[in-house]
Symmetry: C2
Subunit: 366 residues, 2 copies
């Protein structure tokens, strides 16, 4: 039997018991009229969560990385220039996806732990007038940094680019307003601030993005992720044409998680994440620990904390896991060994979690 | 609340209660040492189910269609010739996948409801000596037809082609011996004869297939489905390099379903599927109904039954759903309106299911 953990890493986060219970509901058919009705409700809740009216809002039947790939393969054609802001692992992954689409990615690079600077992005957009899209990561899970998605989407529009936004760690945790900010295409994950198990990737495409897809010269290279086919199944008002077998039980879980979020209210959820971050911050700073990211750009739901000199970061994580059943995350890439990543996401963003983490860290560093 | 159904369509099938319970276990991290140990056990059970020793045996984090795409994007490079047997929907989907890889697919077409004729495939392989792969569907879910996978894999080998086998509806339901038959690459699904919820696609690649992938001139067009990266996470003996967040709870469910299968014994499972098919067949024929597929090529787990003249096939399905909470499947493509597809898969392959179906059909056709 696997142990029960408290999940305070970069995701998955703790899953609400109601969500786990929903996941165990009896499986029904993906074309069952009752399921089709369920899909409409789920999509409506996704629209609320993304703060959008986009018709093409649906959960991709695979984790967040597939949501990223969905945006890239649908919106890029071979030879297309795309500007990509890179300030961590997921910006790099966007670059790799663009290359695999046969597109010409132009990287705008920033030091890890710093946000995307819109000014620098604007210079690159000016230098690449043929670019068709600007892709960036709103909440960089690898560094705990928040960038200014609203400003970047505005820049994309001014330069006749579609905006592609990674909101995997954003959704439910910090402010995100897809329609107000003019986001063209966005993807997220279920296992961060939504607190459903990992495995699905909610995406949303506005009309401009869907028009781009419909006017492609060639079909997207992925059949599985082809938004024209996916919207034929997901509707609404679609003919529910069979595409692939939907992951029924994972969708039950996502729907339940979205119901919990909607009941709380999305703004309240953002506020809760901010408040618990402040509590964690106060406790960690009282212990003499420092944050890696400057105050203004910190993600409340993912705290990058510097490993003090002379401390074995892996030993601390093992100690927490073995003595507190508490998972926190390691640094990635250039930040490996230099930071811990402490998640306060969704069901893991509570005062109790903060207290447990502080207690554990005190014991580990004693 | 969604209704509880009895699932006797082309999948999903009924899910074992133990599997649903496993799916609701507390989520843990995808890099947790305890989870990494769990992965080794799961992969070992997948090897048993596929009857293979292939190291590269793992569950793709998305439904069967993604498993198909995984095989195609990894094994085909732009310009590659690939021979594809087409005798139903999923053969057509293989064609579409090949086209989206930039490969040159050569279709060998057969009437829907008939098996792939190895003689005809051999002629095409002879006429296309540069073909790098032969892809075919072992159990065509759209028509209920079984083809001779062993003979086709042998042909592929004789013509220096890799064999790519669709075993979505096969796995656990009829004989399949990956190593003995010399299958090079194979994909399946969880929601058919394994009776786990839909959402994952077990795949297995032998050394020849992995060698082909490692010697590609360009990386596979899909980052999410790149077998070089996936085997870096799934091991065994791998460094468990983070690729994407694994769908933890869906993997719990799959593992539990594989434990149930292993406890029964795979040959016993094949025999059970055959026996329940014979019972259904006797009952349906006693009612004057006829099978669409010739005796020798019928899938025991998916029964294509002719809709009698003058009967509204959709009305029968609605009647069963509304009066018996029983789902059976419709025909697809050229067989729409002409057949029903009655599944006896995994947990849905029991004498009780057969009895319920016969009772329902009698009432519907009375």
């Amino acid at each position: 039997m696997l142990p029960k953990r408290v999940l305070m890493g970069p995701g998955p986060s703790d899953v609400y018991p109601e969500v786990l219970a929903a996941m165990a509901r009896p499986t029904i058919g993906h074309l069952d009229p009752a399921f089709v009705e369920f899909m409409d409700g789920l999509n409506e809740r996704l629209r609320y969560t993304f703060q959008t009216e986009n018709t093409a809002t649906l959960p991709i039947s695979a984790p967040g990385s597939a949501g990223m790939e969905c945006c890239m393969v649908n919106l890029l054609e071979p030879g297309d220039e795309v500007v990509i802001a890179v300030n961590g692992v997921f910006g790099m992954r966007l670059m790799e996806n663009a290359r695999r689409c046969g597109a010409k990615p132009v990287a705008v690079e920033f030091e890890w732990g710093t946000p995307v600077d819109p000014g620098k992005v604007e210079d690159v957009l000016k230098a690449h007038p043929d670019a068709v899209a600007l892709a960036f990561v709103h909440s960089e899970t690898s560094t705990g940094v928040r960038s200014d998605a609203e400003a970047l989407c505005k820049l994309a529009r001014q330069h006749d680019c579609l905006s592609i936004v990674d909101a995997v760690t954003t959704l439910g945790g910090i402010e995100l307003r897809v329609d107000d900010w003019g986001v063209d295409a966005i993807y997220s994950g279920t296992q961060k601030c939504l607190s459903a198990p990992p495995g699905l990737s909610p995406v949303s495409f506005n009309e401009a993005a869907m028009a781009r897809i419909q006017s492609r010269k060639t079909p997207p290279q992925s059949w599985f992720l082809d938004m024209n086919l996916l919207t034929g199944y997901w509707g609404p008002g679609a003919k529910r044409a069979y595409h692939h077998t939907a992951p029924i039980n994972s969708l039950y879980a996502l729907d339940e998680a979205l119901r919990i979020l909607q009941k709380e209210g999305i703004e309240n959820s953002w506020d809760r994440h901010a408040a618990n971050h402040q509590q964690l911050r106060a406790g960690l700073e009282a212990m003499g620990l420092e944050f890696y990211v400057e105050t203004d750009y910190r993600l409340p739901q993912l705290n990058a904390v510097k490993v003090p000199d002379g401390v074995d970061e892996a030993a601390v994580r093992s100690f927490l896991l073995n003595n507190f059943n508490l998972e926190i995350g390691a640094g990635l890439g250039p930040l490996a060994g230099k930071i811990w990543r402490i998640g306060l996401m969704g069901a893991s963003s509570t005062p109790k979690h903060v207290d447990l983490c502080l207690e554990g860290m005190k014991a580990a560093l004693a």
